[in-house]
Amino acid sequence: MIDLSPRFLDGETSQSQKVKLSMTEQSLIIKSDNQTQVLWVYSKIFVKEDWSGSIGGIFGFKDSPDAGLFIHDRKQFDHIQRKLHSRHKATYIVPTQFRYLFLLGLGAIAAGFLLFPLLGHLSSFVTYLIPYKAENKLGDLVLDEISKEFEPCEDKIALESLQKISNRLIPPLKNQKIIPKLSLHESREANAFSLPGGHIAVLSGFLADAKSENEVAAVLAHEMGHMIKRDSLEVFVQSQGMSLIISLISSSGSYGGMAEFVSFMQGMNYSRKKEFAADEFGTQLLIKSGYSPKGLSAFLNRVEEGQKNWAGGATKYLQFLSTHPETKERIDRIEGAHKSGAYRASLSPAEFKRLQRACQG
């Protein structure tokens, strides 16, 4: 049988005393052996531990913070609690009731909507402040990381051909502060990345998938668009900011999984605006260099087809899809701006075939 009588601990020793309580308008009188032990005024009493089922609740007193009044009778607890100042009625400010959870959930969604654009603007500003020298160093570090994931490939013939295509695209960029540096990596994925410091990493899977030199030039021009706008650096800054926030959000140690998932999703792609801007830049660069923007739309069309056919080609384009959203709209824009597929090739058919077989030794 559980003893429901209140117990008092003076905070000086671990010995508790069974007490009787009497309440006046202003104070709570704690009596032991019919003698007044202490007198607590309501304005200084606070809930030390909230009421919880079979284990009761504890009241404390501001002037002697180690002391505690243990109550095991719910009615008695509620009775005292009613007399307290609203700030002292619980250990928390916001109770865990469903209506508050619902309101906070709505608030969190609203905050999320505000946070993303705000972080985007802040990242653009910070990126603008980063000197090119620092970007180059960061680029080298990122390339090292990429090389761990996609093994670098020392196919000199393929690299020469890639460089030949790139050299035709470079002259219109002569006034820019970053010049593209190409690297080739072994992978079955059909993709290419623009990294900080002008590094453009081309995956062999993309070359194997390319149907013409024009397509290779188009994807390089698109990546150069990201390079000129320092998009990868901006995304890096943005992801670092987001990581900090995510680590704070998840530091309660309980929803790390969900937070990491959100962080992963966030870090995966360039914004829609950046993709369109890189397409536009790439289109102009291709026209100036004697290539056709149709190469980009042709490649994107294949990606779009792959998207529809999960059982078949989708896995090949999975990486590309995860880093480049809005495929259909991009195709429409590119094809709307330029119809002709004619271009002047730099590689012979044999050189192009060899490029397609890059890293296949």
Partner: protein, 395 residues
């Protein structure tokens, strides 16, 4: 409240209880998550405190609840201070040469994480209004940790039980409840048999798991040598062809601008990737089994840590067993996976509940007379540093 005895009958035995509910802890975590998002993470320190407070205050001995008196402000300030140490350390870790001492410092921090976290949390925990405390010196504990780690390595793991007992001994002999000191006398010989058995299983599982991985690696090496030989021949051939077709002729391309000719052959790496994937899966599965086996040692260690612990006339006993720990771990992992991480607080609570309900205290608890000791103002920095190196005690 009293449980059946396994101690001499003259001792009254009291079982510890955990009274938290999964619904409440889930609601608390959801609330923290929302508030963290709204405050861009700043609330996390207060949220963490609320969770700790909930969990601690729902542990009872007899009718008496534990109290947690730490505050969010302490954790926040501790985190700011910890950043001053942790950020330069992280930067140093990425700089060659400097990263060697930085790694040692990081490892040192890792080895004292338990001590740092426990020191802060005990100083903020009360029972019957009396504070716990962990005295001792960080430097001493650090030296013990480094020395014992070195011995563990040199003896190929043979001395792990002794090292674990020595580390715990330092902590337990510096713990106090008010003015009463805890004492601990351990016996690592009780752990040797289970340690050797579970360590052998772990090492055996890792070695067996490595076989398919090494096999795949060797295959890859052979393939590479063969490939490079073929590549040399092919590149010379292609150069010859390229010289003949030196300029691009319009006839070589179709009307869409695509070159006429063969499709590109399928990637020969597919088979290798499949075998290495199976190798990795097999390695992790066997490593997982070996790791689960080590839980039997963890259970025995925890039992031993409690068996030798004393506080005045009080004795402690834990009935944690390996089989139940393994079941707890597996079900917790499944719970976390199936709920996409949302169930993590419930898993943490299940673990806490298990350890608490397996604890029994023998001796006259009612007669225990501890006097309040002076407050030891430990900042939240130690707790934050421990969390930075990934040690969060599940709370």
């Amino acid at each position: 409240m009293d449980a059946p005895l396994n101690l001499p009958s003259k001792f009254p035995v009291t079982q510890m209880h955990y009274n938290g509910t999964w619904g409440q802890i889930l609601k608390l975590h959801l609330m923290n998550l929302f508030l963290n998002i709204i405050t861009i993470g700043i609330y996390s320190f207060w949220g963490k405190t609320r969770i700790r407070r909930y969990m601690t205050s729902h542990i009872t001995i007899g009718q008496d609840r534990f109290e947690y008196t730490g505050t969010g402000k302490e954790l926040f300030l501790g985190w700011l201070k910890a950043l001053l140490i942790f950020i330069p350390l992280l930067i140093c870790l990425s700089i060659p040469i400097i990263n060697i001492p930085a790694f040692i410092a990081f490892f040192g921090l890792l080895s004292i994480a338990l001590y740092l976290a426990l020191r802060y949390r005990l100083s903020r925990t009360k029972w019957r209004g009396i504070r716990f405390n962990l005295a001792g010196s960080i430097k001493e504990y650090f030296m013990i940790s480094i020395k014992r780690t070195f011995i563990n390595i040199v003896t190929l793991g043979w001395k792990i039980p002794k090292s674990d007992i020595i580390r715990w001994s330092y902590i337990a002999n510096h713990m106090s409840y008010g003015d009463l000191k805890f004492s601990y006398e351990g016996d690592d010989s009780r752990l040797r048999k289970i340690h050797l058995m579970t360590l052998s299983i772990l090492i055996g599982a890792v070695l067996v798991g490595l076989v398919p991985l090494i096999g795949s690696g060797v295959m890859k090496g052979i393939e590479k040598i063969e490939k490079s030989a073929v590549q040399n021949e092919q590149s010379q051939l292609v150069r010859g062809v390229a010289t003949i077709e030196a300029t691009s002729s319009p006839e070589a391309y179709d009307e869409d601008g695509y070159p006429k000719g063969d499709e590109v052959v399928a990637d020969p790496n597919t088979g290798f990737e499949k075998s290495i994937f199976i190798g990795i899966i097999a390695f992790y599965a066997l490593f997982g089994l070996g790791f689960i086996g080590r839980l039997w040692y963890q259970a025995a260690l925890w039992q031993e840590q409690m068996r030798g612990l004393r506080l005045e006339g009080l004795r402690f006993k834990s009935d944690v067993i390996g089989k139940e720990l393994a079941w707890l771990l597996i079900t917790n992992i499944l719970l976390i996976i199936c709920t996409l991480g949302i169930g993590k607080p419930i898993a943490a609570q299940r673990t806490l509940r298990y350890y608490i309900t397996k604890m029994r205290i023998g001796g006259d608890l009612e007669g225990l007379l501890a006097k309040q000791d002076k407050a030891h103002e430990k900042s939240g920095m130690g707790d934050a540093l421990a969390a930075d190196v990934g040690f969060d005690m599940g709370m």
